[in-house]
């Protein structure tokens, strides 16, 4: 039990920390915001329930007024802004991503985790995000989708990175990749 609380708290802190450490580059000098990568890792490493809870805890802290979102942002304003959909989608994204890794095929982790991140994090997150944009900017869903297409390739790249990181982690610390250890119960 203590282990679960500790893991959930630490991964929430991990997401926060990824928004605060010096910018990370994508190899060819392009800087990325690593925070959404953190959300993907919550799902692929901790699994659906713990991963979802970790992201939810992170959002709770942002909502109560801590500037943990990358760019030193926080507060309730974010939850009525155009980005609100994406934020609200994060815990669901982590959950779905984790679920896919837990219940998906026993294929190489790089591929499973990568695909899980694409389906879970990108598809689910963008679904929520697009609805959020529609509501706050008073646009149709189709128009909102057009607005975000530019960001999708970058996020797909992040999903691939999440896959590689998860696979590397499974080799470095096999016991910690809970999504693959059959430990789906929050025991």
């Amino acid at each position: 039990m203590e282990k679960n609380v500790a893991l959930i708290a630490l991964f929430a802190a991990l997401i926060a920390a990824l928004g605060l450490i010096p910018k990370i580059t994508l190899g060819f000098g392009v800087p990325i915001t690593a925070q959404s990568l953190g959300v993907m890792l919550c799902g692929t490493v901790l699994g659906s329930k713990r991963g979802g809870l970790a992201v939810l805890l992170f959002l709770l802290l942002v909502a109560i007024g801590l500037p943990l979102l990358s760019g030193v942002r926080g507060g309730l304003g974010l939850f009525v802004s155009p980005s609100a959909g994406f934020l609200i989608g994060w815990p669901f994204a982590a959950f779905v991503t984790g679920w896919i890794v837990e219940n998906g095929p026993r294929a190489p982790l790089t591929i499973v985790a990568g695909l899980a991140s694409v389906i879970g994090c990108i598809a689910v997150m963008y679904a929520f995000g697009i609805v959020g944009l529609s509501v706050t900017l008073d646009k149709t869903l189709i128009d909102s989708t057009w607005l975000v297409t530019a960001f999708i390739p970058g996020d797909i790249l992040k999903a691939a990175i999440a896959g590689m990181l998860t696979a590397a982690l499974a080799k470095a610390r096999p016991a910690s990749v809970l999504s693959r250890n059959g430990q789906t119960k929050v025991v």
Partner: protein, 207 residues
């Protein structure tokens, strides 16, 4: 870690957080039903006046938060100028600004501890479903305590990378970073157990 509560003391700092949040919900809902740009402009003007009341520092701080919306505002402005629907564009922008400004107003005038109290009250019904009463507060405290520690470790790793490279740290650094977080989780769990831990009976485990 400093919260976004404003150091400028206002009367609103002492109002019950629950009341402020409920009013915010109501106000936001009203905003989304108003259509005319002129009314929205008037509402926004009132919001700006409220921000100005506690003084210059508070006002500047509030505007700084609103400025973060500029990409969206620009996008909407360009869109609506192009489709020649200026009034609609203005409505969208003003509504957005007012909603975000009001929400941030609550954040700026509510202490972290008061927010946590609201969270505790709102989650009380979940205790009946098995959520341990103090666990959420403990989790919040842990994240607040541990984020700076992880940031420091991440910065050290970033430096160690740059010490052997001509470029800034690449994505690979997230691997040792995650390992550190996992190790910290082990140590925190141990510390929690050493200080009493939780009861063995826990219905959350059975879901």
């Amino acid at each position: 870690m400093i919260s976004l509560t404003s150091p400028v003391k206002t009367k609103a700092h002492d109002w019950p957080a629950g009341l402020k949040l409920a009013s915010l919900c109501a106000a936001t809902m009203v905003l989304f039903f108003v259509e005319q740009a002129t009314i929205l402009a008037a509402i926004f003007a009132v919001v700006l006046i409220i921000y100005a009341l506690p003084g210059r520092r508070f006002f500047k701080s509030g505007m700084k938060q609103l400025k973060l919306l500029w990409p969206f505002i620009l996008m909407v402005a360009i869109w609506h100028i192009w489709t020649k629907e200026i009034e609609l564009g203005a409505s969208v922008i003003l509504r957005l600004l007012s909603a975000v400004a009001l929400a941030n107003l609550v954040t700026m005038t509510t202490r972290l501890s008061d927010m946590i109290d609201v969270v505790r009250s709102l989650t009380r019904p979940l205790v009946r479903l098995g959520l341990k009463p103090n666990i959420l507060e403990l989790a919040i405290a842990l994240v607040i305590r541990l984020t700076p520690v992880l940031v420091q470790k991440g910065t050290l790793l970033s430096e160690a990378w740059r010490a052997r490279s001509q470029r800034k740290a690449g994505w690979r650094i997230i691997l040792p970073f995650t390992v550190l977080a996992l190790d910290d989780a082990d140590q925190v769990a141990e510390a929690l157990r050493a200080r009493g831990g939780f009861d063995t009976i826990d219905t959350l485990e059975n879901t």
